[in-house]
Amino acid sequence: MTLSPPLEDAWLVIPLYNEAPVIGEVLATAMTRFPHVVCVDDASTDGSAEIAERAGAVVVHHPFNLGQGAALQTGIRYVLEATDASYLVTFDADGQHRVEDAAEMVERARREDLAMVFGSRFLDDRTDPGFLRRIVLKVAVWITNQQTGMRLSDAHNGLRVIRRDAAEALDLKQDRMAHATEIVLQLGRTGLPWAEHPVHVLYTDYSRAKGQSLINSVNILIDSMLK
């Protein structure tokens, strides 16, 4: 995978909310493979948006904080309306995803003619989320599978490749974190071919501190049940 060509027909969609310490580096790394990036700034207060703009990403500004699900949907809409990209890749701003994984997933989608490729940290044992987090994630997977009828091994993974036709079917109504289940549900309903791809999630001290607290999984669960 040395000297891989940049992926011209894929756009990274990055929901961005107060990630100033890392977003510059995340973008610099990502843009070596993905020259097209749209960051949806969810009304950050720490200058994240300016850093992203300086790094060369397109930045869409939410006028006030709406939540990660809303930011994702805005980014998807941007790619569909303002570009002619064939694929979009949802990617986290905190640097927990590897760009090589994302690029491999796009190439796999192209090679195998898949409409969506979900990243999964549980297909191999590279990722160590820790005992408690593993249990919570596994419960989340189980609930998502019950609700969506899909059989995924990892539900709340922010790394996904979505082909244009599948993205057009998305209309996320869960503004906050419960969108992870909703996105699987809506993509599953399209009936288009999909696969899971093993990825490595890098748990740094930074992403651990910023990531979902376990108590918030209660909110996610209830949000995803109520309409």
């Binding site: 397109v58 500004h61 709406l66 809303a70 941007y78 109520l226 309409k227």
Partner: protein, 134 residues
């Protein structure tokens, strides 16, 4: 657990109805009409309870509750739960509308911005609006 079965069934049915309200989509004219009928019924019952407290007690004893005041409290609890459910629904609806509106504004601005950066339309030198920095 199984004493006073009638009132328990009534109250449980009320709780279940509220739960269904929370998880089902209930918009449209039919539901508005039902809500209003329920409200009218509620007002009539309240007036009856004030005018004829003895009747309330008789109804209470019929369903297996001692005093009319107790029945009133139970009824109020269920009504309150229904109110919570209804306001939750309305809030969600409003939230979604606000999100849609904010998204349209954000996208419009981004597409507009980009066109100016690549093209040479008037206003390309304008400063960005200060949403994020304010």
């Amino acid at each position: 657990m199984l004493d006073q079965p009638l009132i328990k069934v009534i109250l449980l049915v009320g709780v279940i109805a509220v739960t269904i309200m929370l998880t089902r989509s209930t918009t449209g004219a039919r539901h508005q009409a039902i809500r209003r009928l329920l409200l009218i019924g509620f007002v009539l019952l309240a007036a009856m309870a004030i005018l004829f407290p003895a009747m309330l007690t008789r109804v209470a004893q019929f369903v297996g509750v001692g005093r009319g005041a107790d029945l009133l409290l139970y009824g109020l609890t269920i009504t309150f739960l229904g109110f919570v459910a209804a306001s939750y629904r309305r809030m969600r609806l409003l939230e979604q509308r606000v999100t849609t509106l904010a998204r349209e504004i954000a996208l419009r601005e981004a597409v507009h911005d980009r066109r100016h950066r690549h093209g040479d339309g008037p206003g390309s030198g304008q400063p960005r609006s200060g949403w994020t920095s304010s």
